[in-house]
């Protein structure tokens, strides 16, 4: 059936286009916290959900892009071609009017990645190249193959890349992390849309059912956290024959996309109701699942009077918050009260050590979709200092890696003792004194751990997957990074640093120098900072509220390398009052 958009009057069609543009931005960009990555992950399920609000479907979207971005050019022979009109991109924000074109490109990438999903599945090689991609893009845009050229007419001057670059600039200008990047070799241009594809609704539904089946037959634990779940999936990859999934998970070097997918997988795992029957769930019309479980971290503090160490469970608040949750455990009910934006107050444990195994606690709040709090059964915990206190104070499993020179604590199973000894012998890790046995040797606690600013080289492949996980947690950035130290971080979820209380930047790398400059992402003006030595703190100039990027061009023999770090400066007026515990007094 033809879409209503096909014969829509011009004025009405213009309004329809504006509506889709706004809906795309509202769906993909605005819900993302500043500083977090934005993915334009367009697929049919998402288009159907989004368009449902005003009676449109993914078919209507196809009709829209075919009318809006394709023109019939009269000549000896009338032919269709893409009309980008990229000369209208005078500033990055203009790209909002091109977002449906970008969406069409991502949809083509999705079609390419899924074409071999059925049948031979992941065993068959997936052909991801320009030819295949543009074949799919022609399908999306309703174009026919006219000549031997891979690219359709209208894109042969790489007009699409111009739009993608503007998209990235606009995302960055708004304080989010752009994720669309060019690739290498044959993928140099098609990588832009490819880098945006994440899991689709159908994938999510299928994976949820796989998780449910594995848990039902006892093959998958109910108390995994994100890392353990990924580890289990890697070890059982044959249970997940979805080529698109492994397209992402096998490329951890595409860090943002990998992390977003890993987080999405854990979201799926946390939303499955293990007691429900998912066997017959429709993959095409998947059910909306609320979050069922919260997964706890670990919090460690020392009493100033008696020096006694105590452990608590530390829970991150789910997106959108969760008010009034009460957990019941061992006959005691404990309310979850907000501690700081994004986190609940630590829930004290009755022992002088972390739990020896995974725990599942019931949420007793009536009508709450969240039914359980899980303490995951892990092989190790990395407890770092409070990021809001500059790494001082209590230690907890905050989502930040340990900074060089800053003390942290490792709590691990005795099996990992040999690995830590190895890391120490490789000058990659130090600690104070002998490890302390906790829970009669179930855990070993290494206190005063530090990683040097120039740690020794470690060959990851020489270690088991469990050992690799610990190594990666200790030193996630192997190729250098720009770390921001000191200053006053904004305390809310928007992150950034407070105006007038800027951090210092440190180029963390083994040695050498770099030419550093500061780019204002709003004005695109660059301010040179100078030639800076590795691991030396750089004082930043006074910066007005806004978004900036610190760029360091490294002086490495025979090749160019660069490091980047975005920096958000927050105005004092941008802070809002945090939610407080109701009974705070």
């Amino acid at each position: 059936m033809a879409s209503v958009l096909t014969d829509m009057a011009d004025g009405e069609f213009t309004a329809e286009c504006a509506r889709w543009d706004a809906a795309f931005i509202a769906h993909f960009v605005h819900p993302v916290t500043r500083g977090e990555p934005v993915f334009l992950s367009v697929h049919e399920g998402m288009l159907d959900r989004m368009g449902h609000e005003w009676g449109r479907t993914s078919e209507d979207f196809l009709a829209l892009v075919r009318r809006r971005w394709v023109r019939t050019v009269q000549g000896r022979r009338a032919r269709k071609q893409v009309v980008v009109g990229h000369h209208r991109l005078r500033r990055p924000s203009d790209v909002q009017g091109f977002v449906t074109l970008l969406g069409a490109m991502v949809l083509a990438a999705q079609w390419m990645e899924t074409e071999l999903r059925e049948g031979t599945g992941s065993q068959a090689p997936l052909l991801i190249d320009e030819k295949n991609y543009f074949k799919r893009l022609r399908d999306v845009l309703g174009l026919e193959l006219e000549d031997e050229q891979v690219r359709p007419r209208g894109l042969r001057e790489y007009e699409d890349a111009v739009v993608w670059r503007n998209w990235s600039d606009w995302i960055e200008e708004g304080g989010w992390r752009p994720t669309a990047h060019p690739g290498k070799g044959a993928r140099v241009h098609i990588n832009y849309p490819l880098s945006q594809t994440l899991l689709r609704d159908g994938d999510r539904s299928w994976i949820a059912r796989r998780f449910w089946e594995e848990v039902s037959r006892g093959a998958l634990s109910r108390t995994h956290d994100k890392e353990m779940l990924l580890g289990w999936m890697l070890a059982h990859r044959s249970k997940f024959p979805r080529s698109r999934l492994w397209q992402i998970l096998d490329r951890p070097e595409h860090q943002l996309r990998y992390e977003a997918t890993a987080a999405a997988l854990f979201d799926i795992y946390s939303t499955v109701d293990w007691d429900a029957d998912l066997a017959e769930e429709d993959e095409v019309q998947p059910a909306e699942r609320p979050l069922r479980r919260l997964t706890a971290g670990l919090y460690r503090e020392e009493d100033v009077f008696c020096g006694e160490v105590s452990y608590s469970m530390y829970l991150k608040q789910p997106k959108g918050g969760a008010v009034g949750l009460t957990v019941s455990w061992m006959g005691v009910e404990a309310p979850l009260r907000p501690e700081r934006p994004g986190w609940f107050m630590p829930l004290p444990l009755p022992w002088k050590h972390p739990p020896t195994e995974g725990l599942s606690m019931r949420v007793v709040t009536p009508d709450s979709p969240i039914k359980h709090v899980i303490f995951p059964e892990r092989d190790f915990w990395l407890l770092v200092g409070d990021p809001l206190a500059g790494g001082a104070g209590a230690l907890a499993s905050w989502d930040v890696p340990p900074a060089p020179g800053q003390p942290f604590v490792i709590i691990c199973r005795p099996d990992l003792r040999a690995l830590l000894d190895t890391l120490r012998s490789l000058d990659s890790l130090t600690w104070d004194g002998a490890p302390v046995e906790l829970a009669r040797g179930v855990w070993l606690e290494y206190r005063g751990c530090r990683i040097p600013s120039s740690p020794g080289r470690v060959r990851l492949r020489a270690f088991t997957p469990e050992e690799q996980a610990l190594i990666k947690a200790i030193r996630p950035q192997s190729s250098g990074s720009i770390r921001l130290l000191g200053g006053l971080p904004a305390p809310d979820r928007q992150a950034g640093w407070m105006e007038g209380c800027l951090p210092r930047a440190v180029l963390e790398m083994p040695g050498g120098f770099a030419e550093v400059k500061l780019l204002n992402l709003q004005t695109r003006q660059a301010e040179p900072i100078g030639r800076v030595a590795a691991n030396e703190p750089i004082e930043l100039p006074h910066l007005a509220p806004g978004f900036y990027r610190i760029e360091a061009a490294l002086e490495v023999a025979d090749r160019q390398r660069s490091l980047q770090q975005t920096l958000s400066i927050r105005s004092w007026d941008s802070l809002a009052c945090a939610a407080l515990a109701q009974d705070a007094n």
Binding site: P338, L580, A581
Partner: protein, 456 residues
């Protein structure tokens, strides 16, 4: 900047009789008091003179002895006092200048009651009508304190270390010592609360409470951001004060029992009046044994290398220890400093009650107050003209001082020897002094009956 001089005046009636007029860091204030006296009694003062003295009160490193007084009532002034002026009848120099407000003076006279005992340190009217240095607040420092409150409001709650870090980043405190003073002030002002161990803070929600002496005016406490301030009524005003965020007031008459106020869509908690709060507080013995004071196990004393008792302003007293045989703590009641050698931890201050066999932690001044009681000291305070004067060396526990500060929303003014709390009705002063067993003197100000008698 610190006021470097202290002023006092005597009304000399004849060679044998003289009456103390007042002590103040401001000469104008002394002059005003003298003016009131000579106007009221000009006919009886034909042979009298007023003598002004001043003394350099610049801060020194020299430690003042326990029970220090700037001068003794009955003794001649010591050498540090310099005779500035002798003004004889008809006292022209005194009578020139702004006219006083006789009605206000009459009103004050009616409300004052004579003290049955002599006031401490003369009349103790030292800091009358003085806000705590509001005209001396550096704008940049005031802005930093306001920004700190905004940051804390956005964080909601946190650990002590995060507070310290914020103070350092805003250049309000170099180290923990200074940051502790700031957090104590924020607690006094009611912006935040501390956990019983002092290691966590939690912001109070946006709260309004009536001023003690102007109940139609509300003070804003707790969480505060630029957006919240912008939505308050136009009749609000902000008073900068040293070492703390601005005091913000607005006008709104609260019905008794109101628990919530909605202003332009924002909800504010309404606190009861300070008088109600004061009445609901336990007395100091009840406070010592309340759950608010965190207790510690005496057996943990063995983890410290040194225990020293606070005696006469120094840590020179004998130690305490836990007797494993007797299963009890041995040592006299008092405030102790507990230190470790091996670990880089700051010393811990605690109070030991030998009779109850409890060790508690709390705010430093509170523990010192308890130590003073244990040492047999009789704390005193003086009230005059809606000001309460408390000796610096006898500062009250945080729980009680909070009520004094929140009566006006202003931190106390301070001189070398005294803290002056503003806007304190006599009933409030009497209530709190009763809770703490503090001897309250209704000060012999220049207009008080006692002083009048002396002047005649």
């Amino acid at each position: 900047m610190w006021n470097m001089k202290t002023w006092l005046a005597f009304l000399v009636l004849n060679e044998r009789e003289r009456a103390f007029v007042g002590l103040s860091p401001w000469r104008d204030q002394i002059t005003r008091w003298c003016r009131q006296i000579v106007r009221s009694h000009s006919d009886n003062l034909r042979d009298a003179s007023v003598v002004f003295y001043s003394r350099d009160d610049s801060p020194t490193t020299e430690r003042r002895s326990r029970g220090y007084r700037p001068f003794a009532w009955a003794q001649p002034l010591d050498e540090s006092w310099y005779e500035e002026a002798v003004i004889r009848h008809p006292f022209e120099e005194i009578l020139r200048g702004r006219s006083s407000r006789p009605n206000a003076a009459d009103d004050r006279q009616r409300r004052l009651r004579p003290s049955p005992i002599a006031p401490p340190v003369g009349p103790g009217t030292a800091f009358d009508e003085v806000l705590p240095g509001t005209d001396q607040v550096e704008p940049a420092v005031a802005a930093a304190h306001n920004n700190l409150l905004t940051w804390l409001s956005a964080a909601g709650a946190g650990r002590w270390e995060a507070f310290l870090r914020a103070c350092q980043a805003l250049e309000l405190a170099r180290d923990a010592r200074y940051a502790r003073r700031i957090i104590r002030r924020l607690v006094l002002l009611g912006h935040l609360t501390l956990s019983d161990g002092g290691d966590r803070w939690t912001m109070q929600p946006p709260t309004v409470a009536p001023l003690a002496i102007e109940p139609e005016r509300l003070i804003l406490r707790g969480q505060r951001t630029a957006e919240l301030l912008a939505r308050l009524p136009d009749n609000r005003d902000a008073t900068p004060q040293q070492g703390a965020p601005d005091r913000v007031r607005c006008c709104e008459l609260l019905e008794t029992g109101t628990t919530e106020l909605v202003v332009t869509g924002l909800r504010f908690r309404c606190d009861p009046s300070v008088m109600d709060r004061a009445q609901s507080l336990p007395d100091w013995r009840g406070w010592l044994t309340s759950p608010a004071m965190r207790r510690y196990d005496g057996r943990d004393l063995g983890k410290f290398d040194r225990t020293e008792r606070w005696v006469s302003g120094d840590w020179t007293g004998e130690p305490i220890y836990f007797d494993d045989v007797e299963k009890r703590i041995v040592g006299p009641t008092g405030m102790y400093r507990l230190s470790r050698d091996a670990q880089a931890r700051p010393p811990v201050t605690a109070f030991f009650d030998a009779e109850r066999q409890i060790i508690v932690r709390g705010d430093w001044y509170g523990l010192r107050f308890l130590a003073g009681r244990a040492g047999g000291e009789q704390p005193r305070a003086a009230w005059d003209l809606c000001h309460l004067l408390v000796p610096v060396e006898g500062r009250w526990p945080l729980l009680y001082e909070q009520v004094l500060v929140q009566a006006s929303g202003l931190l106390p003014g301070r001189s070398p020897g005294w803290l002056c709390y503003h806007g304190i009705p006599l009933e409030l002063a009497e209530c709190l002094c009763g809770k703490l067993d503090v001897e309250l003197d209704i000060a012999a100000s220049p207009v008080s009956p006692g002083c009048e008698r002396a002047a005649v």
